[in-house]
């Protein structure tokens, strides 16, 4: 594969209405699939962008400016970014609510996601839904709904269309440790494996389903072992290591692209915040949280990059300042926009084609 760099990939938009002119794009990879220096910096940048964006969302929530709940993927940055970075041009992303970084990797703008969270007129759903609950067909991003696992059958349908048209695209989707028990997840794995659909399922095992620890959700050692029941590969990776996530997903993506069927990648990490902003996660033992805090995915990757001489303290400072200022501008601009007008509520239950 030729080395190709696109602007939105190298420089995730931190503000600005544009979605990245080229849409989702392939990473600047060396032919053997290893990552160039520019990729390492891009991965880092998306992870920092995700955290900075979500920190802003939480601040807006505490200020009473978010309409509904506010969910973060704090602790999930390596999983969200590393996985989506393994996709290429034309691939499909079905992210979950802790995967904001994946939206950015696939070309979504801070502005669009800000408008979604603030339910403003002109948001991708025109205020009909919030957070990452949108579909952007241009970018091939199919956001989640609140029913965990409900988009997996839909991801199968996209995979089926890809297969029937003999295209070469991959569908990447996600589920949490809790959501992995939902029937539609198993139905989808049964269908995707039997039909050899080009699907990659990333299971984000972040230790808690709302307040319920994994010990009360399943008795298998690793959720990836469930893959055996479907006759497909399953791998567990350290979800705080962005490169480990990337490489495992890359392998699963390659398999899917070769039409050899779906794979499961279990990424083990910690949900560092409560289920949502209203939840202080009092049920998580402080010791457990402290142990995971030492494995913060961003701090961890910083060490790697600093060690390789790819990232300096000055570069980091500049990057954070640049991203923060872009996010701030985006939030201020969105807050200035009105909500959709009340009469809009009745519009659009059905698609109405232009009169024949």
């Amino acid at each position: 594969m030729a080395t190709r760099v696109t602007t939105n990939k190298k420089s995730p938009p931190a503000g600005g209405r544009t979605r990245g002119s080229a849409g989702p794009a392939a990473a600047a990879r060396t032919p053997n699939g290893s990552l160039a220096k520019s990729d390492l910096l891009a991965l880092y940048r998306y992870m920092v962008l995700m955290r900075e964006f979500e920190d802003t969302i939480i601040r807006l929530y505490t200020q009473g400016k978010i309409v509904g709940g506010a969910y973060t993927g704090n602790g999930n940055e390596a999983t969200a970014v590393g996985s989506a970075y393994a996709l290429s041009d034309g691939d499909y992303l079905f992210p979950m609510h802790r995967d904001m970084g994946a939206h950015f990797v696939r070309g979504q703008s801070v502005d669009n996601l800000m408008l979604m969270h603030l339910a403003r007129k002109g948001s991708l759903t025109e205020g009909r839904d919030g957070t990452g609950h949108y579909t952007d067909r241009d970018l091939r991003i199919f956001g989640n709904i609140s029913h965990l696992g409900a988009m997996l059958p839909v991801a199968c349908g996209i995979g089926l269309a890809v297969k029937l048209r003999k295209e070469r695209n991959v569908v990447m989707t996600y589920i949490g440790d809790g959501g992995s028990n939902v029937g539609e997840v198993h139905e989808s794995l049964a269908m995707a494996s039997a039909m050899r659909l080009p699907l990659v399922l990333v299971i984000e095992n972040n230790q808690y389903a709302y307040s319920t620890p994994v010990s009360r959700q399943f008795i298998v050692e690793r959720l990836s072992s469930r893959a055996a029941g479907y006759g497909i590969p399953g791998k567990t990776v350290d979800g705080t290591d962005v490169l480990a996530v990337y490489h495992a997903c890359r392998e699963a993506v390659a398999r899917a692209r070769a039409m050899r069927g779906p794979s499961i990648v279990e990424s083990v990490t910690m949900r560092m915040h409560g289920h949502a902003a209203h939840d202080n996660a009092w049920y998580v033992p402080p010791k457990e949280l402290a142990a995971w805090k030492r494995k913060d995915p961003i701090a961890r990757f910083e060490k790697v990059l600093t060690g390789k001489g790819v990232l300096t303290a000055a570069m980091k400072k500049q990057l954070v300042a640049e991203l923060r200022s872009g996010i701030e501008k985006s939030a201020a601009a969105a807050l200035d926009l009105p909500y959709p007008p009340a009469e809009d509520a009745l519009r659009g239950v059905f698609f109405e084609p232009p009169a024949r």
């Binding site: 991708l124 759903t125 349908g157 996209i158 029937l164 539609e184 139905e187 239950v349 059905f350 698609f351």
Partner: protein, 324 residues
């Protein structure tokens, strides 16, 4: 023109649309080589191949979701539920994903789900359901329920061409019980248009599906007794033909609503409320409903026969209304 049974008309409608539009494909359980549990897809695998007549795993949520996903990708899937009853396994997909897609994202979802419905085949509590009321209450889904071979073919074609999700309720009891002339050429029965199956001046029966046949038989009986009954076949339940309902009610002033699905919270309840609100001054009697009782569909013949409405029960209800 050919004489076709109801199920042959569905089969022919599917085949004609698949010939016309290469993006139309079928998916479901046992629909390929086996031709479907009721043979609605018989011969289609042979003509169109395994990429367009797809046998799936036994998982209704995955089937409906895969239909939704492939529709979002630009294909036109027609999914078969082996029995209408089994759509409950895919309920979440239909009501939360499919039905809300356009409202949330402004993206059309052109898909059809076929639902072999109804009793009278000794199917018992899990093979006899009429599930339309669950979805009648769900904004974002269109519902059609043909009663004749002509309408069955015309509506399956219209449903496939419709850019929104359509639930196509087809009646197992009618599959091989009725036969009629069906045009060979390209025609569709428009979604949203009711049809007067019999004109009359004294009482309007509003019905659909198998209820149309009970009502037509009862109307003949009542005619011999000097009461002329108009039979209005809704054909589309959502959105139902408000204009046709009102104009018939204005003409006759008396309304009996007949459906096989159980009474409480059924389609008839909404029709009754609509007529009460919009045509009150034209009514000469309270709107009456004839439906199955609020129980599961029982298995033993005397129980199921007691449970189901039929032509005799319809005639009795009409007589009582005529005397009001």
């Amino acid at each position: 023109m050919a004489m076709l049974t109801y199920i042959e008309a569905i089969n022919e409608g599917l085949r004609d649309e698949m010939r016309l539009d290469p993006t139309v494909f079928l998916l479901g359980e046992d629909i390929g080589a086996y031709g479907g549990a009721f043979k609605a897809t018989k011969g289609l695998l042979e003509e169109f191949g395994a990429d367009r007549v797809i046998d799936t795993v036994l998982a209704e949520g995955a089937i409906i979701g895969a239909a939704t996903g492939s529709a979002l990708a630009g294909l036109k899937p027609v999914a078969e539920m082996q029995f209408s009853d089994f759509v409950s396994n895919g309920f979440n997909q239909l009501v939360n994903v499919t039905a809300k897609y356009h409202y949330r994202n402004f993206i059309p979802v052109p898909m059809v789900v076929r639902l072999p419905s109804g009793g009278g085949i000794r199917g018992g509590p899990f093979h006899s359901a009429n599930t339309e009321a669950w979805f009648f209450h769900t904004p974002g889904l269109k519902l059609v329920a043909p009663s004749t071979p002509y309408d069955a073919k015309g509506l399956i074609r219209a449903a496939i061409r419709e850019p929104n999700p359509v639930l196509y309720f087809e009646y197992k009891y009618l599959y091989r019980h009725i036969k009629s002339e069906v045009p060979d050429g390209d025609y569709e029965v428009p979604i949203g248009a009711a049809d007067i199956k019999r004109t009359g001046s004294d009482i309007t029966v509003i019905t659909y599906g198998t209820g149309v046949h009970w009502s037509l038989e009862a109307a003949e009986t009542l005619s011999r007794e000097g009461v002329e009954v108009e039979v209005l076949d809704l054909r589309t339940l959502m959105p139902f033909d408000r204009k046709a309902v009102l104009s018939s009610v204005e003409k006759t002033g008396k309304v009996l609503i007949v459906h096989e699905a159980n009474l409480t919270g059924g389609v008839g309840a909404e029709l009754s409320a609509f007529i009460g609100a919009e045509a009150f001054r034209h009514l000469d009697a309270p709107v009456r409903r004839l439906a199955s009782p609020d129980t599961p569909v029982p298995y033993a013949p005397p129980l199921e026969d007691a449970f189901l409405p039929n032509a005799q029960k319809t005639a009795e209800a009409l007589r009582s209304l005529a005397a009001y």
